[in-house]
Symmetry: C2
Subunit: 220 residues, 2 copies
């Protein structure tokens, strides 16, 4: 990214991220920007969260993908409301794309908006979308060396979800190493070990989300 990211693109994105942030503050909407490699389980995690919390908090989803609207469809199947952005080759979502999607989603009526970014552990981390908090997913099969190999991405996380923890016994994955390596670049992030497939550990994540959402509502 560095080679092609110029200041002009970043400044324009920052301007628009500010607009999004003002929108979220004004409407008391708590917004998450969810970033990970392809196939870490972002859609499965969001779908399960909607199924389990959908009667307590109203969650809207902005889906980012290079191509297809299959993820938005999965969110709707889970009972959520979703707007799909197809980037047609672009490797990350921009704040402007999100701004337009928020209108289509009637986001002011939501308690929580979850943005599922394009599957990419590198580029999305350079683009502020105006989110309240940033969530990074790392799935067990990706390996325990990811925090040291992608330090910039993990440094910006407010939450790290270590997903597919149910596969731990089948894979050589040093959990202690991962936890320690995340702490080197990010002393403050909340870290939860979860399986969005089996449900293991999801309660801690839900507690965090309900708690932070409540705080966002009261700050309104």
């Amino acid at each position: 990214m560095k080679i092609s990211l110029n200041q002009k693109i970043l400044s324009r994105n920052e301007e628009c991220a500010k607009k999004n942030r003002i929108f979220f503050d004004e409407h008391g909407v708590f917004c998450l920007n969810v970033i990970s490699s392809p196939g870490s389980g972002k859609t499965t995690t969001i779908s399960r969260t909607i199924k389990d919390l959908g009667d307590k908090i109203r969650i809207g989803v902005v889906e980012g993908d290079i191509k297809t609207d299959t993820d938005a469809q999965k969110i709707r199947d889970a009972g959520g409301e979703a707007v799909q952005i197809e980037t047609h080759g672009a490797c990350h979502l921009s704040a402007e794309q999100v701004y337009n999607a928020l209108k289509a989603l009637d986001a002011e009526k939501m308690d929580v908006v979850i943005i599922e970014n394009v599957g990419n552990l590198v580029c999305p981390s350079a683009f502020d979308l105006g989110e309240s908090k940033r969530v990074i997913l790392l799935s067990v099969p990706e390996g325990d060396d990811k925090p040291i190999k992608y330090p910039g991405t993990f440094a910006e996380a407010d939450v790290v979800l270590i997903n597919k923890i149910d596969l731990k016994d089948y894979i050589d994955f040093n959990l202690e190493r991962v936890l320690a390596d995340i702490r080197v670049v990010n002393p403050d992030a909340a870290i939860f070990q979860v399986s969005a497939t089996t449900g293991e550990g999801m309660d801690q994540w839900y507690d965090w989300l309900i708690n932070k959402n409540g705080a966002a509502q009261s700050a309104r």
Copy 2:
């Protein structure tokens, strides 16, 4: 990527990719550009290939990572020669970075040069490195929807390695769907089901590599 890829950067990369291609042709070096998501098993696949074929063909590796030289170290531990490029934030390798690494590797003495690109299923596919063939890895835990969600990347593959096939029984993964979806965007790619961890299916991949490398040598 689209937003920030301008013609100037791509033309400069094309120029340098041509230089690399001429270098490979002149020296009878067969070069692979290996692309996948983070954690699909690129390094493990390359390490096992070196362990199993290292006495028949001399393989040099150019490693691309955002940060750390741990992958180059793994290749050396497997008995291979490796040069590490740290991109310091950049999301893909450029032909120019590879050109410089080829000198450091004494690549003219190699039979095969394998370039392990930065872990990213999107951006690297837009940058020709002058390689002879392009290899895309997709690992089973990433899910069976990746070919339709990243069609541009799979369309450019000469080989698709479906890796971590040993985990198939633990994961909901529709292999037939993956094979069919790859064929929609890419009728010609060789597709091998492998596990670089257990060794399952690797022989087919080795046969392909030895065969293509032999053809490159005779064409010299």
